[in-house]
Each structure stands twice: as structure tokens, then as C-alpha cells.
């Protein structure tokens, strides 16, 4: 064959192929689905929610822009102030409880024990049960007339002569809800911390043992620092979930007695949807945002501090 007939020319690609060769176009096309989803399902609702917070919209009615009036009212509203305080108290105590018990459980499970995987599966159960179902179970446990706890303590053991009134007074009701929340949150913390524990190399513990470190020193110098990154993440999620908790409170007390267990989330719902005061409900929900941002930043920066992770004398 005569080589001179060969023309060293690439055929002009089709318009479509050229288009897809264009880097800017390709970026736009590839990003479109993700950006589209974010805009439609996150940015728009969030923006609308924030907009509603500055209006007096009611369900089924048109609202007017009223500026900060909703927030001004809320600042003078005892129930709202209480709900902010309740939310912070609830989040703080429940998170501390969940982490103390969850970490303890994770440390126990990290040892070699018989039926390890079966036990781990059982630990997860409270987390698997839908929240509403566990809330209803707790509602029965706390029932003023039919509580199993009252039955055992009063009718069987005769330790008291009156049934417990778990939900009838503000403080017992708050503690009861916190216990329910801790029960529900422990598995998440325990299992994720367990995963973190298992990434720590056993050779570190062996070395520490050879050096004669006590179990407390091992925990303090090896476990705690190496667990800190995952702890920060788990803490962030846990705080966010607890802060925005709704189902437990709504199913067990609906914010009662005497509005003493309202969280910001339940109050926002009660005023916004059944109460039809959409604008005010949105304002309460928007008021949660600064707290959530603060909690997230705190977990990330304070707990995720590299110094802490790598031991205090390592810059």
C-alpha cells in the first residue's frame, strides 16, 4: 500500500463531542444534578422558612412583611424563653449522659467477651426501633395510672404508698424525657465509639503495658487522644439530633405539663402547624439556627483541636 495516500488529519468531531470537550460546559453539566437538588430541597425551603419568620403568615392566608416583630414578641414570651432554656438543658444533660454511658459501653464491648457480635446487635436495638414506637413505650412506662415502675415499686415491693407522677410536674417530666432520650441515643454513641476504638492499634497498648502504664494512664494517654477525632464527629451529630428532638417530647407530653417540657422544635411545630401561626412558628425554628451553628463549631474546633488529638506536648 502506498503510504503517501494516508492523510494525517483527524476528522472534525461532531458539535456534540466538541461541546462535551468544553471543560466549563462539562463542569456545569456534572454539577447540575447536585446543585439542583441542593437548591430545590435545601436552599429553597430554608430560605422560605427564614422569609416566613419575618412575616405574619397564617396557614391558608397571605402574610405581610412585619420585620422583626415575631422575634420581638418571642423575646417577651415566657413560654418561648422557657423552651430555649429547656432545649439547652435537655441537650446538655442528655448528651453528657449519652456520652458517659455510651463510652463506658464501648470500652466494655471492646474487650473480648463471649457472644460479642450478638451483644453488639442487641445494643443497637433501641436505635433500630422507630422513635415514635419507643416514645409510646415510654409513655406507658411513665403513665400516672399504669406505669410498670409504679406497679413494681408500689404494688409488688411496697416501697412507696403512692404511684409515681412522672409527667405531672415540671421537673420529674423533664428528667423522664431526658432518660428516654439517653436510652435512645446510647447505641449510636456506643457503636460509633466502638468503631473508633477498634482503629487504635493494639501495639500501642502493648508498648504501654511494657512501660508499666496503669489502665487509667492507658485510657488517658492512648485511648482518649486517639478517640478524639471520631468523638468530635459523634458529638456534633448527637448534639444536633438532641437539640432538634421532637418525636419523644411530642408523643410523651406534647410540651406539657404547663408547657414545662416544650423544646424549641415542639413549640415551633405547635404554633406553626396546629396553631396555624406559620410566621411565628418559622421564627422559632429560625431562632434554633444560631444555636445549631454554635454547637457545630464548638464540636469541630474545640474537640477537633489537633493539639488535643495528638497529645498535649506535640505541636
Amino acid at each position: 500500500m502506498d503510504a503517501s495516500t494516508w492523510v494525517a488529519k483527524r476528522p472534525t468531531p461532531s458539535a456534540l463531542a466538541q461541546l462535551f470537550d468544553n471543560k466549563a460546559f462539562l463542569i456545569a453539566v456534572c454539577l447540575f444534578p447536585a446543585v439542583g437538588l441542593l437548591l430545590v430541597f435545601l436552599t429553597y425551603p430554608l430560605g422560605l422558612g427564614i422569609y416566613l419568620a419575618f412575616t405574619d403568615t397564617e396557614i391558608g392566608g397571605n402574610g405581610h412583611w412585619i420585620g422583626l416583630e415575631n422575634f420581638e414578641y418571642l423575646l417577651t414570651d415566657r413560654i418561648f424563653i422557657n423552651s430555649v432554656w429547656n432545649t439547652m438543658f435537655y441537650t446538655f444533660v442528655a448528651t453528657v449522659g449519652k456520652f458517659a454511658l455510651g463510652l463506658w459501653l464501648a470500652l466494655l464491648l471492646n474487650h473480648h467477651i463471649p457472644f460479642q457480635s450478638a451483644i453488639r446487635a442487641i445494643i443497637l436495638l433501641p436505635y433500630i426501633v422507630p422513635t415514635v414506637l419507643s416514645a409510646i413505650a415510654f409513655w406507658w412506662i411513665y403513665d400516672p395510672q399504669f406505669s410498670i415502675i409504679s406497679y413494681v415499686v408500689v404494688d409488688q415491693l411496697h416501697l412507696r404508698d403512692k404511684y409515681f407522677d412522672f409527667l405531672g410536674e415540671p421537673w420529674p417530666a423533664r428528667w423522664s424525657l431526658i432518660v428516654a432520650n439517653i436510652w435512645r441515643g446510647i447505641p449510636f454513641v456506643a457503636i460509633t465509639l466502638l468503631a473508633g476504638l477498634q482503629t487504635i492499634s493494639p501495639s500501642l497498648y502493648e508498648a504501654a503495658m511494657l512501660d508499666g502504664a496503669s489502665p487509667w494512664q492507658q485510657f488517658r494517654r492512648i485511648t482518649a487522644p486517639l478517640l478524639m477525632p471520631i468523638l468530635a464527629i459523634v458529638m456534633t451529630f448527637s448534639v444536633l439530633f438532641t437539640f432538634t428532638d421532637f418525636q419523644l417530647v411530642y408523643a410523651i407530653t406534647r410540651g406539657g405539663p404547663i408547657n414545662s417540657t416544650h423544646l424549641m422544635a415542639t413549640l415551633a411545630f405547635q404554633r406553626g402547624i396546629p396553631g396555624a401561626q406559620l410566621g411565628e412558628g418559622a421564627a422559632i425554628a429560625v431562632a434554633m439556627i444560631p444555636f445549631l451553628i454554635f454547637a457545630t463549631l464548638f464540636s469541630y474546633y474545640a474537640l477537633g483541636n489537633r493539639k488535643w488529638q495528638q497529645g498535649s506536648d506535640n505541636d
Partner: protein, 447 residues
């Protein structure tokens, strides 16, 4: 708003409803209801009409079964295509709001009492149809009339279809042991009865937790029976009046006689407590009695159970209200006459009486001629529920019916007012002041 609600307890009673319904159904149909000879309004059905209806989902199987049977009869008789969707109790309000705002969706909505009043400019005038039904069936009860007419006018905007009322449910033998033949109407004697029942170990129970139906029921009964009201006719707040303070003081005294724990009671709590014989008296809908009758193991309790009107009535002004099922037709419908004819058909005695009878009076009739319906002959104990349409009060009394009146209920403002005084957290004056603040806020654009 979901979780266990009153509806679950109704479901428990559904079996009973059906069982008894079969017996009642053997009676000659609707013969007992007096009917006047009135010509129906002239509403020629549009050719090729098809309409969509939404209504609340059933508590009692018969509610849906009979509704569907009647609808089939209407389709056969007129050729109009009808589809009914059953919507959850809490969702129906939102669906009405969307339909009203977008001008699309269902043609006919059998919704809650206040809904037509929120969208009165979006729905058809019903004056002709309502007046026809009133003339034919002995007039409308005061409560449905209140909810059928635009506030302060004679214009009908909806057709009330049923009234779910309450009554005092009590154990006759325990009330008798306390020295009373029945529930006394005088409030001080009623308090005395509660004290004596408590001493005898059979206390009363009134829900004071955030219970949509029962909690608000307790609060409004206490308020109204003392002559109090939350707003006046124009919507100005009147909750700090002396009557409220009296009601709060009475409530605090009453609370001392109740079974412990009522501050956390939700809707099903009093049903459970009564059925397990923990309380001897509690106000409720007919659901408790349904459950008792449905289960042979409760036969003795059912036999000893009686119903009475709530105490504190002045003459026949009972301090009670009822939950009204209120039907409206949207202006956006393409078939206004077919929609109205559908409502007329459902309200006519041939269709309405079986519905009333087989639901065992769960929805009490709004039209007074049905007082004589055989539905109420089956069991004299349910008679107090028959009179739900005669109740003179309404949610948000004395103010206009608006979204604000519903919001006060939905936010449990009155319940919290009573609960804070009963628990000793606030003085009556403080509690009333706090309620005033919130009610004024909710009513700031209404009225």
C-alpha cells in the same frame, strides 16, 4: 399530630359499633323521622359531571361503609361520578387550605367546623339548600346553625353533617354510694360529689394535659360553666374577667379531688383509667361506652355506666360544645349543582338515617327531626350524645369563628391556664394574665 389519639380508642370500639348496628338495623328504616313536604331546590345536574370529595377518615367502620353505600346510590341515581378520599383528621385542615389557595383539588370538603369560615369567599353560598333541609327536617340545631352561617349573618356557607359530642361518663353505683342519685347540676354540689367519690376511692378524672379533645374540653367546660369566655363578640380579649378567676379557683378545688396525674393526661388517658376502673367519672365522647359494650369482660362496667350532661348549666344552656363535621363546596368546582345535589342526597333521610343509625350516633344529627330517629331507641344510655347539636357554646365563644379561635385550642392556651393554677404554679390572676397575652397575640388580626 400523631401518636395515640382519641381515634385509636374509637377504633377499639368499632367492633362493638358493628355488632350493635346489626340489631338496630333490623328496625324499619327511617320511619320514625318526621318529614315535612318541601320541594327541593332546583339544581339541575350538569351533563357529564364528576366530583371529588374529601372527608375525615373513619373511627367506626360503619361510618365509611354507609357513606360509600350512599355514594353508590347517588352514582346510580344520577350518573354523576363521585370519588371520596378519606383524609387523616389532622391533615384535612391543611388540604382545605391548599385547595382554597390554589383553586384546585376537591370539589366538596366535609371538613371541620371552622374551616368554611376561614375560606368563606372561596366557597359557594348554601343558603337555599340549608333552608330547604331545615324546613324539611324540623330545623337545624343551634350549634350546626352557628357553624353553617357566616358569623353574624343569615347567609349559609356550609352544610353541617354531624356533631360529635361529649357527656359525663360515670359509674352509677359509685355516684349513688356518694349519696347522689345522678350528677348534680349545681357546681358546689358537684364538687361535693367529687370529694365524696375521692374519699370512697373512686375519684373523678378530668384531663389537664395537652390533650386536643379532652384537655380543651375540661378547660372550656370550667370556663363556660362559670360564665366566662375568652373573647367578646368582636374578638376583644375578655379572659381576665372575674368569671375566669372564679372558674380557676373552682378548678383548683376540683383538681384536689381528682385521681393523681391528670396534668399529664392525653386524650386516651381517661378512657384507659375509666375502663380499668381507676376513675369513677370522666367527661368523654361515646368512645368509652363503645369499648365497654364491645368486650364481654367489661359487661359489668357497661351495665353500671351512665351518661349525663355536664354540670353548671343555666336552664338548658349546657356548658358544652361538639365537634361539627361541616361540608362546603368550593367555587372552583366545574359542577356546582352536582356537588350540592350530592350533599342534599347524603342529608336526605333515606341516606342519612342509615348512616346515623349504623354509626350508633357517633355523629349526632344536625337536623332536629332526627331526634326521633330509631338510632336513639337502641340504647337509652347514649341519649345524652343525641343532643350534641343543641349545645349553645362553640370553640372561641363568644367571638367570631376564625382561625384564631382554633389556634387558641391548638396551642392549649386555656388548658395551660387551668393547669398552672391547679398545680399551684400560678395564682388565678397571673394565669389569666398570661392567657390574655397569648390570646391577644393570636387574635391580633382576627375579629
Amino acid at each position: 399530630m400523631d401518636r395515640i389519639t382519641r381515634r385509636d380508642t374509637f377504633r377499639m370500639g368499632a367492633g362493638a359499633a358493628l355488632g350493635t348496628a346489626a340489631l338496630v338495623d333490623a328496625a324499619p328504616a327511617h320511619a320514625a323521622v318526621p318529614v315535612a313536604n318541601v320541594a327541593p331546590p332546583n339544581q339541575p345536574i350538569e351533563a357529564g359531571a364528576s366530583i371529588r370529595v374529601i372527608r375525615p377518615s373513619k373511627f367506626i367502620d360503619a361510618d365509611e361503609t354507609v357513606w360509600n353505600e350512599n355514594q353508590e346510590k347517588f352514582i346510580k341515581a344520577t350518573g354523576v361520578q363521585v370519588r371520596t378520599d378519606y383524609v387523616g383528621w389532622e391533615d384535612i385542615r391543611a388540604q382545605v387550605a391548599v385547595a382554597a389557595r390554589t383553586g384546585a383539588g376537591p370539589d366538596v370538603v366535609a371538613g371541620w367546623a371552622a374551616d368554611p369560615h376561614l375560606y368563606s369567599d372561596k366557597i359557594l353560598d348554601m343558603t337555599e339548600l340549608a333552608e330547604y333541609l331545615g324546613k324539611k327536617y324540623g330545623g337545624w340545631g343551634p350549634l350546626p346553625e352557628r357553624f353553617g352561617k357566616k358569623f353574624g349573618t343569615n347567609q349559609w356557607i356550609s352544610i353541617p353533617m354531624g356533631c360529635g359530642g361529649g357527656a359525663m361518663v360515670y359509674r352509677k353505683s359509685w355516684v349513688n354510694e356518694a349519696g347522689y342519685a345522678s350528677i348534680p347540676n349545681e357546681l358546689d354540689r358537684f364538687l361535693d360529689l367529687c370529694r365524696k367519690m375521692q374519699k370512697a376511692g373512686h375519684p373523678a378524672g378530668f384531663a389537664l394535659g395537652n390533650a386536643v379533645g379532652d384537655g380543651n374540653g375540661t378547660a372550656s367546660w370550667l370556663l363556660w360553666s362559670h360564665g366566662g369566655y375568652q373573647v367578646d363578640e368582636k374578638g376583644a380579649v375578655t379572659i381576665t374577667r372575674k368569671e375566669t378567676i372564679d372558674a380557676l379557683k373552682y378548678g383548683a378545688e376540683l383538681y384536689k379531688t381528682l385521681i393523681p396525674g391528670t396534668l399529664s393526661w392525653l386524650d386516651p388517658s381517661n378512657n384507659k383509667a375509666y375502663i380499668s376502673e381507676e376513675v369513677g367519672m370522666t367527661p368523654n365522647g361515646v368512645s368509652i361506652y363503645f369499648v365497654l359494650k364491645s368486650d364481654p369482660k367489661y359487661a359489668a362496667i357497661a351495665l353500671d355506666t351512665q351518661h349525663a350532661r355536664m354540670p353548671g348549666a343555666v336552664g338548658t344552656r349546657y356548658p358544652e360544645t361538639a365537634n361539627v363535621l361541616n361540608a362546603m363546596v368550593f367555587k372552583h368546582t366545574k359542577f356546582p349543582n352536582a356537588s350540592k345535589e350530592f350533599l342534599r342526597f347524603m342529608m336526605e333521610v333515606e341516606q342519612y338515617d342509615p348512616w346515623l343509625t349504623r354509626c350508633l350516633g357517633y355523629w349526632a344529627h344536625p337536623l332536629l327531626a332526627f331526634d326521633k330517629s330509631a338510632a336513639w331507641d337502641g340504647d337509652p344510655k347514649i341519649l345524652p350524645y343525641r343532643d350534641a347539636q343543641k349545645m349553645p357554646y362553640w370553640i372561641g365563644y363568644k367571638g367570631p369563628i376564625s382561625s384564631a379561635s382554633g389556634a387558641v385550642d391548638a396551642e392549649y392556651v386555656l388548658v395551660q391556664m387551668f393547669a398552672s393554677v391547679c398545680s399551684g404554679q400560678a395564682t388565678p390572676q397571673e394565669a389569666a394574665k398570661e392567657a390574655e397575652r397569648r390570646i391577644a397575640r393570636i387574635y391580633r388580626r382576627a375579629g
